[in-house]
Symmetry: C2
């Protein structure tokens, strides 16, 4: 691979990664315009419904785009969506050659841009950045492949795997620095899922406290509660909340809640049967509602269901240097897991020491998801 | 601190660390002889009863030691023990100046060498390596301070803190590479302690398989078994074993075992009462018997007793990327631990990724041992 091309494309990938959870359900894309060895335009996709990366980069370059090269991390789109096709903008800008980092996973666009551009005399070349794009757009690709949201599980545990000490305390297991660090996960997702017990006991805010300068928004909150017995005075149900709070419940749970919640951003979705409140139908519904990536923050009952069904893609463990011992609650002790099946093993991607805590990020890579299509 | 002196002393510390578990119950010590800016002699303490580091370095230097400087990590000894005092050898070698890394923790020697040497016209200077020596000789210092062995706990666990899956399998939780790596702990200790259940079920060899070129020996094996019901056909009780196998038991347990063990290196120690088989009296006895550092390899009952009594100094966790879930056995679930007491928190010293496993080394630093003197 040409070294210079490689550098420009990596630059475009850096831009792409600046998009945060506002981009969903679109993929992260970055683009740069290069003329006579100089970068004359930069852009990335900032928010769903707004301009694509190529358009931002071409607008940034202005008339300098004429006869310049365009480096774009993902194949440009070629159809009308919320915005006109990027291929049209590229043609209009009189770009000489387009370097493409990876083909689009979405069948609507896959392998379409090249012939459109070539017909107009614009050269194209695909560089070998498929793997880098797969990592960057794992959520997008997973969504398209399985019509399900990409699921992160998060658990703060003691050294002996306890999620809750014998005094039923589960809120402050790890240190303050770790808890703040863990908020980065919230910024990666468009919704946070909690069980009713966690919601009632912890009265969580589930907001992003270590917000970086890049634009992000607090994810929506989803509460699963079959009975609908929720503490209506809790923070998230106050009428000051600006993000969606979605309660997944049963018809009787809905009757319990109806008319009692002041927060106008709260939606109550009732599933006709209690069994429909299990993981798979909930996830399918959430994807249809537009949620692309979900962070499951507990409690143990929800975590156990996800561990059992394997309907998660990443597991994030924040482990404190404490042994809780007798009477405490393990995060998996009710989960039926076929541990002898090697597909149930996880792959350790990152480990990071935070004071005396350790953060461990695992991927569920050995599992075969084709059965859940 | 003089930069050159610093470098020479670090060199001596590197040598000191080459001593392995043969050194116990002595401290690790290294020494170098420097003349006209050149290292002319090197030595370290290799084995209890053999020459001290200073003597090895001075012998290595030979006649070049005259008017040279000696760098020794620990204050030279000044009394007759198994070998003559190092101060005598230093005087005899006509050393000009002695640089001392740290004072000896042992009251027999502490602050004695300087005046002896000074009287003979040999200059002395103490460099500030106390902390480095404390880390290197943590076992030696702990032994002297508390008259107890330094205790390492080791546990191979799943992500949910399980030491044993629901099929009672506890042998192969972590991957092969991790298991081999964990043997480095055995090379650091002079004895390995196991409970009778682990001994009977796992039939372990408890030897050092990744032996480095430095001299080490397989640690002794200590089995705690009140009933004396041990599988006599197990590897460690065969008559081929060359190291001590010590069985701590009760009078009735002793009667069960007497005359039935072929291995002539096996000793049966019976404590008059069952309660004497608890951690504290066992450790006191083991220290008196000459054991300075002990690795506790399980099972869960022993680990729980150590976690409860806090009579351990380090905890080594080897964690596999698996969740065992329902029916498996947690490594602490019967331990009564006052987890709210911050003294029970551990300090995370090292973390190391080994394939998909993680190794975590914790120190029990917040605990106050003065109560156990």
């Amino acid at each position: 691979m040409n070294k210079k091309n490689n550098q420009y494309m990596l630059e475009a990938f850096k831009l792409a990664a600046k998009g945060k959870n506002l981009v969903f359900p679109n993929p992260f894309v970055g683009a740069i315009v290069v003329k006579n060895g100089k970068i004359v335009g930069k852009g990335f996709h900032k928010q769903a419904g707004k301009e694509h990366a190529e358009v931002n980069a071409l607008n940034d370059a202005g008339i300098k785009a004429k006869n310049a090269d365009l480096y774009v991390t993902l194949e440009p789109c070629s159809t009308y969506g919320k915005t006109p096709p990027c291929t049209a903008k590229i043609i209009e800008s009189k770009i000489k050659k387009v370097y493409i980092g990876a083909l689009d996973y979405n069948p609507r666009h896959r392998k379409k841009a090249e012939s459109i551009l070539n017909k107009k005399g614009i050269e194209t070349e695909i560089l070998d950045f498929g793997e880098k794009n797969s990592e960057l757009n794992k959520v997008f690709n997973f969504n398209i492949k399985y019509s399900l949201p990409y699921v992160h599980l998060k658990a703060a545990i003691s050294l002996d795997g306890m999620i809750c000490d014998s005094r039923q305390n589960s809120k402050w297991i790890t240190c303050e620095k770790t808890r703040l660090y863990s908020h980065y996960l919230r910024a990666k997702c468009d919704a946070i899922l909690v069980g009713s017990k966690t919601f009632n006991l912890d009265n969580p805010r589930l907001n992003i406290r270590n917000r970086s300068k890049t634009i992000t928004k607090d994810p929506a909150v989803i509460i699963i509660s079959a009975s609908g017995k929720l503490n209506l005075k809790n923070n998230l149900l106050k009428n000051t909340t600006e993000r969606e709070v979605l309660i997944l419940t049963t018809p009787s749970g809905k009757r319990n809640l109806q008319g009692k919640i002041n927060n106008h951003n709260t939606t109550i979705k009732s599933f006709s049967r209690r069994t429909h409140l299990s993981i798979k139908p909930c996830l399918t519904y959430l994807k249809k509602r537009g949620y692309t990536s979900i962070l499951v923050e507990g409690g143990s009952s929800l975590l156990e269901q996800f561990l059992q069904t394997r309907l998660f893609q990443e597991l994030h463990i924040f482990m404190a240097p404490k042994v809780f011992g007798k009477g405490s609650k393990n995060f998996s002790s009710n989960a039926n897991i076929d541990f002898a099946n090697k597909k149930n093993n996880l792959s350790l991607i990152t480990s990071k020491k935070i004071e005396n805590d350790i953060y461990l990020r695992y991927k569920n890579v050995y599992w075969d998801y084709s059965s859940i299509r």
